[in-house]
Symmetry: C2
């Protein structure tokens, strides 16, 4: 292995420590702790685990969490009402709707029911536009976490070729927009891309974000490239064939311990930021 590992655990700890200090300052001056509402629909075990991790991390960081667990048969209309109520609640600073939601839910409609200034997970259209156009608003957490990791390792982006594999609304599309805002030349690849290997082979920075185990083969990686694996598949397997990619890359994120920890840290950091805005 030639690549240096990008240590998401260490970076996220730094951000969480800083966030805990800001949360304590907020609590001292405002007489209440910042508050993140988590909304979970149904009982998907992985989603339950993610919510539990977030709640635990909130507690450790001095952030209150308000858990709203809804039954699997919740309708889009009911979910939208819950999210609107939380958006109007002055004691709630940030709102996280755990996704994916059950298939019968119109997830986009649900996301859009979250007030922009509480969208600390960066899932609304307004947040996406803010990422694309550089206005005020919260970034999607995983994309923002990826940019933080790249910055922590001083990866140059200006003029570099970045290839984003995946085009989801909360990961692929926004991370591409953030890289574009940093002057990378950005290519979006996806399931219909005909020659994925050729695109990846030209990339200075690869972001794999599709959720397909080891879709990105190690021997596609350009020697010295930076490889960000945002995939997380059963059995701790990422979207990148790790060993083979690490033998060629300059920098690479492990799975787990790379992108994953950054996501939660950004979420909590943005929650405290939202609290400061709300007052």
């Amino acid at each position: 292995m030639t690549a240096t590992l990008m240590d998401g655990r260490a970076e996220s700890r730094r951000l969480l420590d800083e966030t805990a200090v800001r949360a304590a300052t907020f609590a001292r001056t405002r007489g209440r702790r910042p508050c993140l509402a988590t909304v979970l629909v149904g009982d998907d075990p992985a989603s339950r685990t993610y919510v539990r991790m977030k709640v635990t991390r909130c507690a450790a960081t001095g952030i209150e969490s308000r858990r709203v667990d809804l039954p699997a048969e919740t309708t889009t209309e009911q979910l939208v009402r819950v999210l609107r109520d939380l958006s109007a609640d002055p004691l709630v600073d940030g709102i996280l709707l755990q996704h994916p939601t059950p298939a019968h839910i119109d997830e986009r409609a649900a996301f859009e029911a979250i007030a922009a200034d509480k969208d600390v997970d960066g899932v609304t259209g307004a947040s996406f536009a803010a990422m694309a156009f550089g206005g005020p608003g919260f970034a999607s957490c995983t994309p923002a976490g990826i940019l933080r990791l790249l910055d922590a390792y001083e990866v140059p982006l200006r003029g570099r070729r970045a290839v984003v594999v995946g085009r989801s609304a909360i990961l692929g599309k926004p991370v591409g927009m953030l890289l574009l805002a940093r002057d990378a030349t950005v290519t979006y690849c996806h399931s219909r891309t005909l020659d994925l290997a050729a695109h990846v082979a030209e990339a200075d920075v690869v972001v794999a974000a599709v959720g397909r185990p080891e879709l990105v083969r190690g021997d596609w990686i350009k020697p010295g490239a930076v490889v960000i694996d945002a995939g997380y598949n059963p059995g701790n397997v990422g979207d990148v064939e790790f060993e083979a990619a690490a033998a060629r890359a300059g920098l690479i994120t492990p799975v787990p311990g790379g992108v994953g920890p950054m996501t939660i840290a950004v979420l909590l950091s943005q929650t405290v930021e939202a609290a400061h805005h709300h007052g």
Copy 2:
């Protein structure tokens, strides 16, 4: 020249004819014509010309226009107020803020003052998100016009390499999102891209949208590629070196008479659509 010209005048005429029929139906059933408000700040001659062209075309298509001409020294706050008032006016169906606005105006803030359901020019963040995520909303007019032209000439997009040169909020970024939604593999190039020629040389579809005369050289074009020139520079010069590109391309848009006429046609079509929604 080997390329077939993509006739934006003919395509736009088809769309305008269809729009005129829909406008007439609306007027007959609702007792008023659809109404587009045009807002112009300052006295830039090109902008005045564009607004006049739009107003003339509205009249010819059975759409009422309400012209709001503001002095060059209008502040962002004043402009925002005007746009909010128009957004609230039940007799206005669509709102066009002619851009670019004078340099002292916060153009993004002004755009965002336009109600999403009257944003027939597709400039708000909500419209951009709708283009990216496929929700309800109006597309930016030039990008939507480009897609209409591609469809009119039955250009396959799925899995094809599309290179967008330019990343503006109202042209480059949205046209990339529309191409991505149609399953193209999309690369955004811009002023910081190091090897523009190499990117263009691999493209099945090139969209030039930077406003720099003949930036895209003819000998970069892959033989048989589709070349869309959305640039419009003084002296009827596009962003593509036309003669040399036409000698290699399969399809190419002329300047003028290619993308330009599509933009106005889409604007009017979306105005009538907005009117039908408002009722």
